[in-house]
Symmetry: C2
Subunit: 583 residues, 2 copies
């Protein structure tokens, strides 16, 4: 019953196809990476007519499965030159699933300059999907915080996927934005420059109106409910994911103090593993700061429908008005500690600029830090950082440099400390101090990416056992996490369910039962690794054909030769270990 | 007797070593690529302390062998990320050879900002090389046309190797400059950004004073003279290389009309193979223009001591004063036809700016064309091109983008027509219209590089036979040229001897006899390919370990999908042909 919707932007035509038999159980990353592998020439220009942009909600997205409203977006990355999957939580994915859409494949590109949007709705009279292309020039060149309200005024209760000026400018740092539960442009499939791919196709927005849509069918409701309950119980029980637990109280930024203590919080462009201002920008400081400014305790909220972890926060001005949502760990770190900035008001403003322009906060923060190292500003100078961010939004020559991301900025400025793998900036865990995540950065098909294999669980958090952060013999650990993550990214669940299901086996089983309940399959836990491996095999094959070789599975040289305080460790994982991840 | 001089820029120390047995017959590219292969970590940052910059005069450089005053410079390229050899003709190489230096290896880098130079001379009292480090801050940040005369004023009759502001700014487009016979900063080992490597080591100049130096010893003077005579005869006889022949009369720009006629002259950023203004910027126009402005015929001059081809020209203002030397084919094309510019006065000014700033003209012209396509100027607007070039010299944000080269400029501006291979700009031959040179571009260890295998000889010029320019079955042709070129680049001869020696077998034999005469070896013609293959094997091995895979042996996608006028041909050489070059 589910369909693949193909949008041809060259002539604004579409086709609605039955999902091919081989794809029928696929969702999320499994489907996006499979279609990119099967249909995109690995040697195409990422911004040319032969790249494709694929959207797919997860397998259980749109059901009552907890914390499952995520969508994967895939294509060839303008940032890495390899395959890319980035995912986000929003009301958009379940709305798409409710319309019976398993995937959207955006193809071709117009030769004209005009911007377009696509409006998807359910034609209740015809009992079928309605697809309309509409001009979108009026929304281009503007801050998404101004544009989103206009879209809701015009279209009512809809969900949005789109790009900001970063995608319009074809920046290699440009994400795809989705609306959060309050209609903010604040949920991003941020990494890898997929916003530029959407921009190259002159597609500004996809608007989804789910009114009257049939919703997601279940093949075995009883089995599904059984799985859903097991997962829900696990999430409600685990200290990290339960209500008023770590994530719900302090958000992802609860990690700031933890990583700082571990000496693994990259500071001032990865020149230190500990930041003296960490406590001021930690999750606890967000909680306490809000309490002081609001006069009451504020627990976090869900970023997307049906999330019971509820880790998304808001940050408030001194007068109690909202400054921004959300101050995530990665964003606070990249725009804060990594730039030597210890003010949540500054990180909040920078995050809001990223959201409004359509930028990935990790890439943006790493870029600012490299720009600071290159002499464009002093570390710690928040005002200068804000000014540089404005240049990105303006598209000035300087802004275009920064918009092209960390690796390009370093090349242009002649900076040698460049914390990237395969052209993508490293997230907030220092490979020298936490070796397993470094192995993941080096070998991930995505470039440096903590979400492709979150070994921080055992290395730092004691989730799924505890291993020494400095232990180097972690090829198998990395592979297991890489594979399991491929599966989770395909279910539509947020990766954060991993905290609970790695410790509580019944929760993990529950996710498989949910999938079986939706699909009518009889997967077991063995299928988790089968699916993960299938995804990785396709992604690696794409990358190899694109010119990304095993020799690109590397950590940058400066980490091998510059000891990282406070532990004064270098990156010393042997080459053979990296090669053993994908033997 | 010959020595390797190692300069450690970290502490400005040096060591003079006996040449290792394994290297004793090596010169030029053979030695630079061998040392880079043996000593440089392929995964090092090209601008970091672990890259090395290697200079080596050719095997017969410094002898009476005709047209042999060339030097190779090698290292890991900031432009391609792979191994690089670029070579130039100048008085510098024979001076170095006369001092008994087979190679200079520049290592390490200081942590301080100061600029240094190294002065090499012969201590006649001690009978040995004298090496002095001197401060060079006073020469930094300035136009090389101002700096070179000061250097000669200060040091007398010396030869220079150095960098301009491009190398100081660590631009990926930055060459290494050598003095021509008139002391101009006009002879460049231009390609691949080796100027930035020199800049990263804070080495502004190497000054060589050959006064009193012992000169190059010959193992067998009779054999050497026999070879030298054979080669000389061939060069004096061949229509392309003889006095008042094609090169001596019209310079390399004699090719403009020829390639234009063949539909293979890339025009307006590789969007056409024919330029309507070609005749105005052709070698014949240089000759006629000079004749008109000087009131007499002007034949070309030698760029370096002992050259009997003498293809270097000057271009004169309307009042007869010199505007620039030299208007090479590649430079006129890149800064002219490829930018839609049909004025030799404009190309002359742009070339002079490149020389004064220390830029590779091919990379600079391709970058300007991409910038024009990206909207920064109109094609054909010479004044705008000059202004953009000034930005490069100033190091403004815009200038830094352009200084980073074509691929980075395209990435920053979101331009999709990017004529590069492995990050290096294509020279003046359109792969769609001349398939063999496209195979060379795709497979060369250097990135797009006509000098690594000049198949234009048979494909366009009828030298060494004639093959159809559109024939696609040229893997073997490409390999033969790639290998033979490795050998020629090692002898110290200019590649232009190829025109003669490919047609006149005794001339080719003569080069082998010259080498045997210098080295005391008993090489035969079989050794030509052995040496070429050894060089290529080492270069490929370095590139593979650096992350450049076989999948990077490619022509950019736009050439596969955009037919090139006037023949309306696409790049259609099968993948298997590219793979067959290095099987």
């Amino acid at each position: 019953m589910k369909k693949l919707l193909r949008l041809n932007m060259a002539d604004r035509s579409f086709s609605l196809e039955a999902v091919p038999e081989a794809y029928k159980h696929m969702g999320g990353r499994w489907l996006t990476s499979t279609i990119v592998h099967d249909e995109v020439d690995p040697q195409c220009h990422p911004l040319g007519p032969n790249n494709k942009l694929v959207f797919s909600p997860g397998i259980v997205t749109g059901t009552a499965a907890p914390t499952s409203s995520r969508i994967s977006v895939g294509g060839k990355s303008p940032l890495t030159g390899g395959i890319k999957e980035a995912n986000a939580g929003s009301g958009f994915p379940p709305a798409l699933a409710a319309l019976g859409i398993q995937g959207i494949v955006v193809e071709g590109q117009p030769t004209e300059e005009a911007w377009w949007m696509v409006h998807l709705s359910w034609d209740e009279d015809e009992g079928q999907l309605k697809v309309e292309f509409m001009p979108a020039d009026e929304y281009a060149g503007r801050d998404l915080y101004d544009v989103f309200p206009e879209m809701f005024d015009r279209f009512g209760k809809v969900n949005l996927a789109g790009i900001g000026v970063a995608g319009e400018f074809l920046y290699a740092n440009s994400g795809i934005v989705f609306d959060d539960l309050e209609g903010r442009p604040a949920r991003y499939a941020g990494r890898g420059g997929l916003g530029a791919v959407m921009g190259s196709k002159r597609l500004k927005f996809i608007v989804v109106d789910r009114k009257g849509a049939p919703g997601v069918e279940l093949a075995d409701k009883e089995l599904f409910d059984q799985g859903r309950k097991k997962l829900t119980d696990a999430l409600m029980e685990h200290a990290i994911t339960k209500p008023k637990g770590a994530l719900n109280s302090y958000g992802t930024a609860v990690l700031i103090n933890i990583l700082n203590e571990a000496g693994g919080l990259p500071t001032r462009n990865f020149s230190n593993g500990r930041f003296e201002g960490a406590a001021k920008i930690a999750g606890e400081a967000v909680f306490e700061g809000n309490k002081e400014r609001l006069g009451k305790e504020l627990y976090n909220h869900a970023c997307s429908p049906g999330c019971i972890i509820r880790c998304s926060n808001t940050w408030h001005n001194e007068d109690g008005s909202e400054l921004v949502s959300c101050q995530e760990y990665e964003s606070i770190w990249s725009l804060g500690a990594n730039c030597g900035i210890d003010s949540l008001d500054v990180t909040g403003k920078l995050i809001k600029l990223c959201n409004g322009y359509g930028l990935d906060t990790i890439e943006a923060g790493c870029t600012l830090a490299v720009a600071m190292e290159g002499g464009l500003a002093e570390f710690g100078d928040g005002e200068a950082a804000i000014n540089l961010m404005h240049e990105i939004g303006k598209g000035s020559p300087l802004g275009r440099i920064l918009g092209a991301g960390t690796a390009t900025t370093a090349k242009v400025l002649g900076v040698k400390r460049v914390p990237v793998v395969k052209g993508q900036s490293m997230p907030a865990y220092e490979p020298r101090a936490v070796k397993g995540i470094g192995i993941v950065y080096a070998t991930s098909t995505m470039g440096a990416d903590h979400t492709s294999g979150y070994t921080i669980c055992p290395e730092i958090l004691g989730v799924s056992g505890k291993v020494d952060q400095f232990d180097r013999d972690k090829a198998e650990l990395a592979r297991n996490f890489l594979e399991a993550t491929g599966y989770i990214d395909s279910t539509g669940h947020c990766l954060f369910i991993a905290f609970a299901i790695l410790d509580i086996a019944s929760g993990f089983e529950g996710t498989v039962e949910e999938c079986n309940g939706v699909l009518g399959t009889d997967w077991t836990m063995d299928d988790v690794n089968r699916i993960g491996k299938d995804i990785l095999d396709k992604e690696v094959a794409f990358n190899r054909a694109a010119g990304i070789s095993k020799a690109d599975d590397r950590i940058p040289e400066f980490m091998k030769i510059e000891p990282l305080p406070p532990h004064n460790v270098v990156w010393d994982v042997p080459e053979e270990t990296l090669q053993a991840v994908f033997p």
